[in-house]
Symmetry: C2
Subunit: 625 residues, 2 copies
């Protein structure tokens, strides 16, 4: 088999046993990889209504057809499980070095079920697996865990996906992390790992994937390294990381501020990529085989001293801990970021939970009595930083916030849900739907809750999205439109963005849509060079359709209804500051857009995939009888 | 502009005026070419219920993005109009030399409306147009017409699409022909041309289309010439033409015989491609730039003397005049073929009309009184040959048969419609639905009536269709299935076959699906090399979806209903001979398949395209308000 290894590792932690399965080639070609593998096992091997933090949840680490090829962006892996945060399909992708190493070690995916009686970690080396005791590292933060495992192995090149105390404590939005700053952040998959008493997966491989046309793969690598600097947005990202987005978004009135009440932050300059670059930046680094190096490492000084080993804050993190909490201190933000990486917390959800608490305090729904004396007001960097640790260890009010804003608001009562900014229980990323309704539609409809990596960001920095002909998009669409033409655009783009997740490919090596980065048509060529298939964009996009429908089926099976395909009420009210002051999402327009999306997807008016739609996609086995 | 010239010639024959329009590049990329251009003008510029043989019909000759490139198979053109035979969308493709010459002359398409008061022909040379008097050639047969025009031009390389007496006499299935044996056969488009008093379109061009990457185009040409002989079915076709299909189909019990009563013909050997090869074959020849040369030229002797200039019979022609009429004389068949080419008649419809008359005689529904003394019994080669001329000139019973089987049966009454084998008024090609129900589904649903070039032939020669992954087909389907999986297969294949028509590309240089011929993935590459686009298979197939929906809209506008989406009742009864004796199409299964097809196409249960479907395809301008 070319491209893939043809081997999937299955682990049953309850029984402490593992097996290696070799799926037929058709399985790989039909599902491609990434989240689709996870969806397949969730749909096939779980019963409706199972507990996400119990032994029946299935946690799947998976890669794509060309993962590990020495190509910029082909180093990602997906993690999928039922989300403890949303109760539905949970997923998260990460870059780094874990995915290539897993391939070098002989596996394409790891499927984990059961719950270990004692803390363990998986040790995988060159096709061999061990379930090792982790009692001595249980409770350690991520850096110490990584060091301990590497020390035990006597090999500094072991690549480890692991959880911190937050995952162990089943914080509902605990993350999984590799190399201390590449993060499967969202959906609380770290809590699932924690519930299974699985501290880490450590992999080491000396094999090399077999490609059908190694020469073509090398050709693409050479092409990318010679051309990527022609793309100005990629070069910009290479210098400032995603943190470079702070200023343009603020200027555009779309920097989520004060728990999404406002769209501009007075001190945006202070928390910008440029500020980091000029003050605390130590160096940049990147994923396996990627020359862009869009990750920052920062070193801040007292009182928020940070260790560059934990990287530096992404745009999302700066938004969540900075403008959303109205904290103007980039050192504090960087420290909060480090704490999240050390405890294993998703920075987006963590920041959102803290901003939620801040608004509750401001509105007198929470008092200092309930916050253990902490004066969690907007702008209070110290309180914010303290809260991160309290959440990770579920201390005091941290225990409440560890449940996510939806559940916390339920517990608080007093109409606190009006400040709980989430979709399907997942806290919103730092993209303001009132300024890009396409993202709003996607937030409302993404199977895993509010997710900013699923579509229609193009309108963010332009008056209108350009045509993207090879995908079938023929007309530019106004960024502020929420009509049928926007739904159509979202649908076309969504398939493409999802495909990149399924292939476990980095969007940053492709999506700037300009010179120098991989083009839409190069992607099937790369996949074919790796696998020896004769696939086409047409065939690949059908796997994205499969993904959308499988995730929908799973959510419906688990009780999510169309009522959850919406946005928080806050976005139906006008933005309060900045150049987009007054912008809002019209609720009835959004409802209409959601219905239109159902229709264009071949779903019933209740949002259920039609049998014919599933049949067309060769998903007959998932049709309920 | 690369690929296309960017110019369309518009002619109003009523006013004897013409204009050149230069559509925006978006028009070309959205509709691609071929039948889609015709559909666009029919939908935009005609009023519901117009007379197909009146001045309001629009007759469109069109080409594709890479037509005229020196590549095997890229030499075809489409002709589209409202069909006088079906009352709905009419289309026919042909190869030869006309299409490349039109491109060399500077045009991508010709759009003709109105009716000339006097016979005319169009003269087009290097971007210049004349409407020339054709009084002196009106009434001439095709060969004489071609000679006269070339003589008048003093140029033997003028390429001419023309009609014979049958078109002038508005025989409902008159054809348009170039080089005397490349035929836009079906749908009665020759009658439309005749009704407009347009005898011919003569083109001469010395220009060369501009390609974005001439080197890549040359590369593809070189690749094809070096590789096509590796494909055994192509080599077979190169030797025997399509006539080579007679024996395999007969052996399989699927050679339409005795007006579709039987599936085997006792004397199949006598009318086979092999028989032609061993007796009357003079040479083979091919379309512009094609090395396959799948066209035969034959020279038969008295009493059925033929001139090789008219080519030789295709498989369809042998079926229609041979087994369908139970005529076992290949010379008589070849002569009937020549007469059709000389008078300008579609051989399929002509043969079917004669077989219909034969069955009516056998069943005493017609008598020799009504047939002018002709004893038109099955097997009577002399009578058959005479009928061809009578139809062309509408003499005696020929006048009745010139209307096509549907209308002839109506006029005859006496339940004659049970012998009228047609869909939507168009006579059936020589493929037996009872042995390949996929073709049956396509017959029932093709917008232009029974058409054998729209999908799902693969099952004809195999136990099951192979997977065709790049199109999205993941599973083989049993050839005899008529279930949901067959409808899905038809749908996927239909888009691809239609795309090849829209691109005006020959299916024989691609469809054998094996080594040596152009692959599915090479097609977008060739289009990109010609046009400079960045198109993908995904985008191209959307143009096929547009085509299917536009044709459906046109038919519905013209009053065709879902009742016509069916097959003749004969196929609901068992085949009477051969290895497939007893096979039949179950009527309720077919009905179910048609409904499933509507559903999978995004149409209402009445077969009407949903607004959302049209919107998704950027066909909003055709949504009825």
């Amino acid at each position: 088999m070319y491209g893939f290894n043809g081997k999937i590792l299955r682990v049953d932690l309850s029984k402490h046993e593992y097996t290696v399965v070799e799926p037929v080639a058709d399985f790989y070609r039909k599902y491609l990889g990434g989240r689709n593998f996870g969806l397949y096992f969730l749909l096939k091997e779980t019963e409706p209504g199972f507990e996400p933090l119990g032994p029946d949840n299935i946690l799947v680490f998976s890669t794509g057809p060309a993962t590990g090829a020495p190509l910029a962006g082909f180093s990602r892996h997906s993690v999928v499980a039922k989300s403890p945060l949303t109760g539905g399909f949970g997923e998260a992708e990460a870059g780094g070095f874990f995915a290539p190493e897993l391939r070098f070690a002989g596996f394409d995916a790891i499927v984990i079920k059961g719950t270990s009686p004692n803390p363990v970690y998986l040790w995988i080396q060159d096709g061999k697996t061990e379930i090792r005791d982790a009692s001595n590292i249980w409770g350690l933060k991520t850096k110490e865990t990584q060091e301990a495992i590497r020390e035990e192995a006597g090999d500094p090149l072991v690549r480890i996906a692991l959880i911190g105390p937050a995952g162990e404590n089943q914080v509902k939005y605990a993350c999984i992390i590799n190399e201390l700053h590449y993060v499967n952040g969202r959906s609380g998959l770290g809590a699932v790992m924690g519930s299974k008493k699985l501290k880490a997966i450590a992999v080491r491989g000396h094999g090399k994937p077999q490609y059908k046309s190694p020469q073509k793969i090398r050709g693409f690598a050479k092409w990318f390294s010679e051309n990527w600097k022609k793309n100005s947005s990629t070069v910009f990202r290479s210098k400032y990381g995603t943190a470079g987005s702070v200023l343009p978004l603020n200027q555009d009135g779309l920097l989520p501020t004060r728990n999404f009440i406002k769209g501009t932050f007075e001190y945006a300059e202070q928390i910008s990529g440029e500020k980091i670059h000029d003050t605390i930046l130590v160096n940049t680094h990147g994923c396996y085989a990627c020359p862009i190096r869009c990750k920052l490492s920062v070193k801040a000084e007292n009182p928020y001293e940070t260790d560059p080993i934990y990287g530096g804050p992404e745009y999302e993190t700066i938004g969540a801990f900075g403008s959303l909490c109205e904290v103007d201190n980039i050192n504090a933000i960087s420290y909060a970021n480090q704490q999240c990486n050390a405890y294993g917390l998703d920075t987006i959800s963590t920041g959102c939970c803290i901003a939620f608490a801040m608004e509750c305090i401001e509105e007198n729904i929470l008092t200092t009595k309930e916050t253990n004396g902490l004066n969690i007001r907007f702008g209070n960097a110290d309180a914010m930083v303290k809260l991160v640790e309290m959440i990770a260890y579920r201390k005091g009010i941290g225990d409440l916030l560890a449940e996510g804003v939806r559940k916390a608001a339920e517990k608080i009562g007093k109409n606190a849900e009006q400040f709980a900014i989430h979709v399907k229980g997942k806290e919103l990323p730092m993209h303001e739907p009132r300024g890009k309704p396409g993202v709003g539609v996607e937030y409302a409809l993404s199977a895993s809750g509010a997710d900013h990596m699923q579509a229609a960001h193009d309108p963010a920095f332009k008056t209108s999205v350009e045509k993207v002909n090879p995908l079938g998009i023929l007309e530019p669409v106004d960024r502020l439109s929420l009509g049928d033409e926007k739904v159509r655009l979202v649908k076309y783009l969504e398939r493409w963005w999802l495909l990149l997740d399924i292939l476990d490919v980095c969007k940053f090596t492709i999506l700037p849509h300009g010179c120098g980065v991989f083009t839409i048509n190069q992607i099937p060529e790369i996949i074919n060079a790796a696998t020896g298939w004769d696939t086409s964009l047409q065939e690949l996009l059908l796997a994205a359709d499969r993904s959308i429908n499988m995730a929908r089926l799973f959510n419906q099976r688990e009780g999510l209804t169309e009522k959850e395909d919406t946005l928080p009420a806050r976005f139906f009210k006008p933005l309060q500051t900045g150049p987009r002051k007054g912008s809002k999402i019209k609720e009835n327009q959004l409802k209409k857009a959601v219905k239109k999306y159902y229709q264009i997807s071949g779903w019933t008016p209740q949002g259920k995939p039609e049998k014919t739609t599933l049949h067309k996609l060769y998903l007959d086995e998932f049709i309920e009888t």
